[in-house]
């Protein structure tokens, strides 16, 4: 008994110790939460209060909500709604039409859905409710401008039709202005993301970021994206493509041959606009070419590739010890000054259709779908990256990527390169065997998670017998989107100082990120995926 008592007592002590050990373990291995933008709490509180009133107070809202209950089905109760400042024509259960105020001086009519989504219908505009479900609704802007603030919910599914265009939404703020006479769509995005899909490639598209405006003409197929009036920033300098493609797309496409099948795919937290017209001419980079091969019925694309498959607008390196590009690279840039933008789209599966096409995964040396050997971050001098580890929240293709924590600041003393310890980060891949990069194109995809105003420069490097041979530098890297780095190595490649080096005996591949934008101090993460050389 005594022994048993001791055992129990020991067990109790051991158990308590295990709990404490577990607590220390969890604290030691927790990820550092990154910076989070300030939500608009005043608006959120106001909306929540309004929702409570709608549900509790009744009135018009309760009456319409009661009417909405009629449409009960297996998929759950459809959302109810209330209209403020306008009358509803037609059946509230479906096909209802709401006209905005006729006088410009009056405030916009409000369409308020029970889950928090708000639609402002402006003067002269007409909006139609085509269908409501438990997850959202299908609306149509018949004419005029309507502003949407779609509540962000899991599995939300909203769509807004405007002529031949369809905007699929799951939680964002934007406005749609549709002119049926001119067949002209203007979409301003305030928050979230937009992806414009073309008939040439149903799986591809061009992403629009907050602060940008998309304009599309259904008759000509012309589609442009630029900064929204009053919006600043660099958003207009980079184009992004669908979550289902890997692409570098020009901002302007033309389409003379309309195709009658608008398509759209919902992406959580994003908007996709499906075009019913096919672009005639799309200027694309290498990743786009992959994506465009998929649709068999797509019109032939007039592709204007650059000499080595890399986006052309990427600038010369202009920092510290970074070498100048080769003469070939400079010439290539001069020959093609207009820039296809490099960027991609969604967080998970950013490569999109390029990843699902036959043989897409072939020839990729590092896919980060499982454990990979030889991954490290720089332990000296360049300390911005720490804790490399597998990640399943971000990926270019497949389900995983490599994540490193990123911390940049101007604290500390410069090293002998003249750099501060947390000004630069390096991810190093030690290759299992000597590799010849001569005549090969090194490709890597990375995603920076951090404040929206940070700007980085990215540089791929291979190490040949100890010599760091740089590839093509990319400047003005922006966060929260996948970016593709490609660089082609020749027999002799220019090193800093003007010397050259071959690359036939390389044992490491490195991704270097320099924090040389205006935002000096930030922390977040960098994800690396699908590193290949062909």
């Amino acid at each position: 008994m005594t022994g048993g008592g001791d055992e129990n007592r020991d067990g109790g002590v051991r158990g308590e110790g295990r709990l404490d050990a577990a607590a220390v373990l969890l604290r030691a291995n927790e990820a550092t939460p990154g910076p989070v933008p300030l939500p608009d709490f005043a608006a959120l509180l106001a909306r929540r209060t309004l929702r409570r009133r709608l549900w509790l107070g009744g009135g018009v809202a309760a009456a319409l909500a009661g009417a909405a209950v009629v449409a009960l089905g297996l998929r759950g109760d459809p959302l109810s709604y209330a209209v403020v400042g306008a009358t509803v024509r037609g059946d509230a259960g479906g096909g209802a039409t709401i006209d905005g105020p006729s006088a410009a001086a009056r405030p916009p009519a409000q369409l308020l859905f029970s889950e928090g989504t708000e639609v402002g219908i402006e003067t002269g505009a007409t909006l139609r409710i085509l269908e409501r479900t438990a997850r959202g609704a299908e609306l149509a802007v018949v004419r005029g401008r309507a502003a949407f603030n779609v509540a962000r919910r899991p599995r939300a599914r909203w769509s807004v039709k405007a002529g031949p265009f369809t905007v699929m939404v799951t939680g964002t703020r934007f406005s749609v202005d549709w002119s049926p006479r001119d067949q002209h769509l203007v979409l301003d995005l305030a928050a979230g993301g937009v992806i414009v899909k073309g008939g040439a490639a149903e799986e591809s598209g061009v992403a629009v970021r907050p602060g940008e405006r998309l304009e599309a003409f259904a008759r000509t197929g012309q589609l442009t994206i630029g900064p929204a009036p009053g919006a600043g920033g660099v958003a207009s300098t980079t184009a992004a493509t669908s979550s289902n493609t890997s692409a570098n797309a020009n901002r302007s496409t033309n389409a003379p041959t309309p195709t009658p099948t608008p398509t759209a795919t919902a992406t959580n937290g994003a908007v996709e606009v499906a075009m019913a017209v096919a672009p005639k001419k799309v200027v694309v980079g290498p990743a786009r070419r992959l994506a465009m091969k998929a649709p068999a019925a797509a019109p032939k694309l007039d592709v204007e590739p650059d000499s080595d498959g890399a986006p052309e607008q990427w600038m010369l390196p202009d920092i510290g010890p970074v070498p100048a590009p080769s003469a070939m690279e400079t010439k290539s840039r001069l020959r093609s000054p207009s820039a296809p933008a490099p960027i991609i789209s969604a967080v998970l599966g950013g490569g999109g259709a390029a990843c699902s096409s036959p043989g897409a995964g072939a020839g990729i040396q590092y896919r980060f779908e499982g454990p990979e050997m030889g991954i490290s971050v720089a332990p000296y001098y360049m300390l911005s990256f720490t804790s490399p580890r597998p990640d399943r929240t971000h990926s270019w293709c497949g389900q995983g990527s490599l994540r490193v924590d990123a911390t940049f600041d101007d604290v500390g003393t410069p090293n002998f390169f003249g750099r501060l310890p947390h000004e630069t980060g390096q991810v190093v891949i030690r290759l299992p065997r000597s590799t010849d990069f001569t005549g090969r194109t090194l490709t890597m995809h990375f995603f920076v998670e951090g404040p929206s105003d940070l700007r980085l420069s990215a540089l791929p490097v291979v190490i040949h017998r100890g010599a760091w041979v740089p590839g093509r530098m990319v400047e003005n890297v922006v966060p929260d989107r996948w970016l593709t780095l490609t660089t082609r190595y020749e027999r002799e490649n220019v090193l800093p100082g003007g010397k050259t080096s071959p690359v036939f005996d390389c044992n490491r591949v490195v991704l270097i990120l320099y924090n040389n934008g205006g935002r000096r101090t930030w922390s977040g993460a960098v994800y690396l995926d699908d590193v290949s050389w062909k």
Partner: protein, 207 residues
């Protein structure tokens, strides 16, 4: 700005106070949410929900100096509700796989990552309240009296339930010899560091 000043500003519905609260207290809430749910938690969304409730219920705060404890209590409540909802969603098959997706775990140590994963799997098997009590007591090192207030219990009840929750988790650990062995070894190694960290945390909380 002291907690009392912040509480007064929030009670006055000063919009600037929202930003101050989010900036000053947001990291604490996000950390607590992350600790509660483990790796892969959508800490940002849940933190926003926590703060929305915090702002709406600020008038219920009796002692302005207890602002942080009040917020932690709301945070644990939101986390418990979210956990219950997530479980219900899994029961009714609203997720495709019927289970939460595999989530990334911080740290370069593969063994530690596996241990963290297994431990959160154990926390997934205990009730939301047990999990909340464990997080509050062992991870956040909150005193029993405060835990009692946060969970709406008497001191004695809180003390009993913390002990009971710990015992349940211990039993689950004992059923996983690999994890138990790892924690035993980890506890020996981390003992000194853990004590130092605990002392540091206590000092931080007092200050």
């Amino acid at each position: 700005m002291t907690d009392a000043d912040l509480a007064a500003a929030l009670r006055a519905r000063d919009r600037r106070a929202y930003a101050v609260a989010w900036t000053e207290l947001g990291p604490m809430v996000r950390r607590l949410v992350a600790r509660f749910f483990g790796p892969g938690a959508d800490a940002a969304d849940l933190s926003q929900e926590v703060f929305l409730r915090f702002f709406r219920r600020i008038d219920e705060l009796r002692d302005p100096s207890g602002l942080r404890g009040f917020l932690v209590g709301i945070c644990l409540g939101v986390a418990r509700n979210e956990l219950r909802r997530a479980r219900v969603r899994r029961w009714v098959g609203l997720t495709s796989a019927g289970e939460l997706p595999e989530a990334p775990v911080a740290g370069p140590d593969l063994e530690a990552r596996e241990a963290v994963r297994r431990f959160y799997a154990i926390l997934d098997r205990v009730s939301a309240q047990d999990r909340s009590l464990f997080v509050a007591r062992h991870l956040e090192k909150i005193e029993i009296a405060e835990i009692a207030v946060m969970h709406g219990m008497s001191f004695g009840t809180a003390k009993r339930r913390v002990a009971r929750a710990g015992a349940r988790i211990e039993r689950q650990i004992a059923r996983d010899p690999a994890l138990g062995g790892y924690l035993d070894r980890f506890g020996l190694g981390a003992g000194a560091a853990g004590k130092a960290a605990a002392a540091s945390e206590r000092r931080e909380r007092k200050s």
